[in-house]
Every structure is written in C-alpha cells, then in structure tokens.
C-alpha cells in the first residue's frame, strides 16, 4: 500500500475518532435532553463518515475489492437518524415542556402539532379541554 494512501486512511480514522469522542463527551457534559440531542448528530455525520470512507479506501487499495456498502450505511443513517431525533424530542416535549410558556408561538393559525395535532380544517380537541377546565 503506498504511503500516501496509508497516511490518508490513518488521518481519516483519527479525525473520526476525535469527533466520536467529542460527541460522547457532549452526552456527558450537556445537561438536558434537548441539548444532548445535538451530540449524536455530530457522531453520526463526520465521526461515522470518516471511518466509513477510510474503510472503503482500505479495502479498495489493500484488498482490491471495491465495496459500496459503506455508502449504503451513510444513506440509511441519513434516512433514519432525523426520525429518531424527532421522536425522542416529541416524547420529551410531551412529558416535560409546557407549550404555553416554554415554546415560542408558531405564528400561524395552528399550534405545534405535538400538542395540537388537528390540522387547519379539523376539529381541535384542546379547545374542549380548556373549556372544561375553566
């Protein structure tokens, strides 16, 4: 294996290792769930990407077999990671966040869908709920 390729592969692995480490450190350091959600997005983009590109290069140059599986891993991560993050955030908001005081208003006719799930023409159960309370 030529020296330059070896150098590139090791650089990529070191960089991805650093970002994975910082991502995990962020999980420890940050306090509440919403800010913690930011840490895994770092790990799953540059951290994972660097390792996958290094793996592709290594098998291509060293073994002579070009695999495309690494690209597929990236694709699946990019398809699934936002959904996971969104569902975790929604669950957290339903449990811990008061939509009237802690969230900015949506500036539209309807509120945020987690708390106000019925759309523009639909029936809105939260109004009935408020009437009962008052």
């Amino acid at each position: 294996m030529p020296f330059v390729v070896e150098l590139i592969i090791s650089l990529l692995i070191v960089i991805s290792g650093i970002f994975l480490l910082v991502g995990s450190f962020g999980m420890l350091k940050l306090r509440d769930l919403l800010t913690r959600l930011h840490a895994p997005t770092k790990a799953s983009t540059v951290g994972l990407g660097g390792a996958l590109i290094a793996s592709m290069l290594f098998f291509w140059v060293e073994r002579g077999s070009f695999t495309i599986h690494e690209l597929l891993i990236t694709l699946f991560i990019f398809l699934t990671a936002p959904i996971t993050a969104n569902l975790i955030a929604k669950a957290y908001m339903l449990l811990n966040v008061d939509p009237n005081t802690e969230l900015p208003p949506s500036n539209q006719d309807e509120g945020w869908s987690t708390f106000d799930p019925i759309g523009a023409e639909g029936y809105d159960p939260s109004e009935e709920y408020q009437e009962k309370e008052t």
């Binding site: 910082v22 983009t45 990019f78 969230l103 869908s113």
Partner: protein
C-alpha cells in the same frame, strides 16, 4: 396502466439501485430479484405515498447535497468547539421558529431532516398546518440569523428542486 403497476417510478429505481449495492455485484440474479422487490414494495406501500413528488432540477440536487455536506463539516467543528471549550451554563440554547414557504410534504421532510443532520440544530416539531418548523439550537445568540441561514441556504434550493 403505467400508473397502476408502477405508482412511483423513482422509488422503484432507487430500490433497485439500493438492492444491487447491497448484493455488491451486478449479476442477472441480483438485478432480477431487485426488480421484483422494486415493483412489489411500491405497490404494497402505495397507500402511504399519496402524492408523487416531481423533481424539476437534477442539477440542483447535486448542488444541494454538496452544500449540505460542506455545512455539516463546518458545523461539526463549531459544535465540537462549543462542547469542549464552553461552560454548559453559558450556552444560549433556545427554540427558534422557521416560517416555511415550502408546501410539498417531501420538501418539508427533506428540510427537517437536513436541519437535524446539521450539528447544532435539531428539528423538534412542525405546526399543525405545516407552515412553521420548530428548531432547537444548541448555541444561538442571534436567533434571526439562524432562521435566515436556513431559509436562504436550504429552503430556497429545495424550492428549486421540488416546486
């Protein structure tokens, strides 16, 4: 006829490509089995995909992917700096509201996913009439700047691609 048996030609094509990539060889067996999957899966799931997104500008997709990748790289370094060198208390985490000009569901989903994958911002919620996104920022002293950035860099380009 075409619409009935191939409700989503683009989905069919991408499923075929993904299957061939998974098998990691271009052989008759892989392509034929990929074709079977690529025709059957869109048929079974077609009730989940009522609309058919129209992609208007293929060149704009490449530009969008490159810009998002570059932004992810830059934002990674910035967020790593925030995590390592800032005290947790001094981070100004807050939610910002991004009003949407996009109307197609596919475009809004792509935008929300892009915002989440860019470090430092996570999409939390969508307003019930799909006209605003709620975005949580790790450190945003200038909330309006974040909104303008998202609208100018991503939303404008997605509008070119989808609408």
């Amino acid at each position: 006829m075409m619409k009935r048996y191939l409700p989503h030609p683009l989905l069919t094509l991408s499923l075929l490509v993904v299957w061939v990539f998974l098998v990691n060889e271009i052989s008759a067996g892989a392509v034929i089995f990929g074709l079977i999957l690529a025709i059957v899966i869109p048929l079974i799931t077609s009730s989940f995909w009522p609309g058919r997104p129209r992609i208007r500008n293929v060149y704009a997709i490449c530009e969008y992917v490159l810009i998002v990748m570059w932004d992810i790289l830059v934002a990674n370094v910035i967020v790593a700096g925030l995590i390592l060198f800032r005290k947790t208390e001094s981070l100004e985490s807050k939610c910002v509201v991004v009003p949407l000009d996009l109307t197609s569901t596919e475009a809004i989903t792509t935008l929300a996913g892009t915002i989440t994958m860019t470090p430092g911002t996570v999409t939390i919620d969508l307003s019930a009439d799909a006209k605003s996104l709620l975005v949580h920022c790790l450190h945003a002293p200038d909330a309006q700047g974040v909104v303008d950035d998202i609208k100018d860099r991503y939303e404008r380009r997605l509008k070119e691609i989808f609408e």
